[in-house]
Symmetry: C2
């Protein structure tokens, strides 16, 4: 029998408390965004509901932009769950079926979490500000799910990346315009038809790359 592993170092209670508070604040903020949209996220309100001071809030998140990026990162992580499930469930299908499974999961999440999903795309950092590394990594992981879904149907890695970016932008644009009633009043049947058209076309386009 191997010797018992050494006991982990006692956790610093201040760090543990800070991490717990971060989670509490993000949960409250996520609910506010879901119910009322991004403009309703205000530091004073969050501090009051989270039971901390505004100073502590800014100490954890930096500033309002940092807080919103953290909320949006949570939303991206939540989105990755149904996307990854759709990817796994469709892994034995042909390319078009796999892409359509992902597009449908994306659409369903966006419609069921409209405000949180819109917040991810409508929030803009000032032009000179850089995105935090963990946000960039989460975004790359999400696009990676699509790249992985395309898989060996597009053998060249650079072409696979282009195809994934283009299809994501395409499906996203169709969904975004539909949710915001940009081309007409929202019509789910129209939306599904538009998505299907572009996924079918993109899948055929990708097979030609392969």
């Amino acid at each position: 029998m191997p010797a018992a592993a050494p006991a982990p170092p006692a956790a610093d209670p201040e760090i543990v408390g800070r991490e717990a508070l971060r989670g509490v604040i993000l949960k409250i903020a996520g609910e506010i965004v879901a119910a009322e949209g991004l403009p309703a996220v205000q530091a004073r309100r969050l501090a009051a509901e989270g039971g901390c001071s505004v100073g502590t809030l800014y100490n954890i998140f930096g500033d309002r932009d940092g807080l919103i990026l953290a909320i949006n990162r949570e939303t991206m992580t939540a989105l990755s769950v149904p996307l990854d499930a759709a990817r796994k469930a469709s892994v034995k299908g042909h390319l078009e079926a796999r892409l359509m499974a992902l597009a449908t999961a994306y659409m369903t999440f966006a419609l069921e979490n409209r405000n949180r999903w819109l917040a991810v795309f409508e929030f803009r950092l000032p032009d000179d500000a850089a995105l935090p590394a963990d946000f960039v990594a989460e975004r790359a992981r999400l696009l990676g799910l699509l790249v992985e879904t395309i898989g060996s149907d597009v053998p060249d890695a650079a072409q696979r990346q282009t195809a994934a970016r283009a299809l994501f932008g395409a499906a996203h644009g169709i969904l975004h315009l539909a949710v915001n009633n940009r081309l007409s009043d929202f019509d789910r049947a129209d939306l599904e038809r538009d998505l299907q058209f572009i996924v079918k076309a993109a899948a055929a386009g990708m097979r030609k790359m392969g």
Copy 2:
């Protein structure tokens, strides 16, 4: 020789003045949006720069939403000029070339008029408010340019409408994400590659409909 046409009725100077003022305000507002974005559009500032009262401003445009919709309609009309030129210039090309000409004209307008173009898509009316009829008509006219460009390559009118909506949403989404640095830092070569991929795929998809 035919008899001289009757003289036109004398224009009502109040209506003429109001129309002229409307044009002046829209021009100033368009310049503010271009330079500083939509949040910088404020009634008091516009009234001061246009030489009228805030009351007169609201009398012409209804409220701030009405003013912004009027600004956005102007932008859509401005966008229709290069789109229609691209449509006419490419009318003898094959489907993919015609669609790419339109997509390129759309991209060029969006990149050169970033803030005005973003304003068209980022402004949201309250959920219970209806868009004015002239706005809806201008939007339909713009989508009509794409429908017309597809033309007889998709003989069925309903399918042609789906294809036009889907491709517009797709190209728009790719451009919108790129301009807002959503998938990576802005890279024009990446953007053009992504657009080309989706236009090529969509053209092939449309030919299959035909």
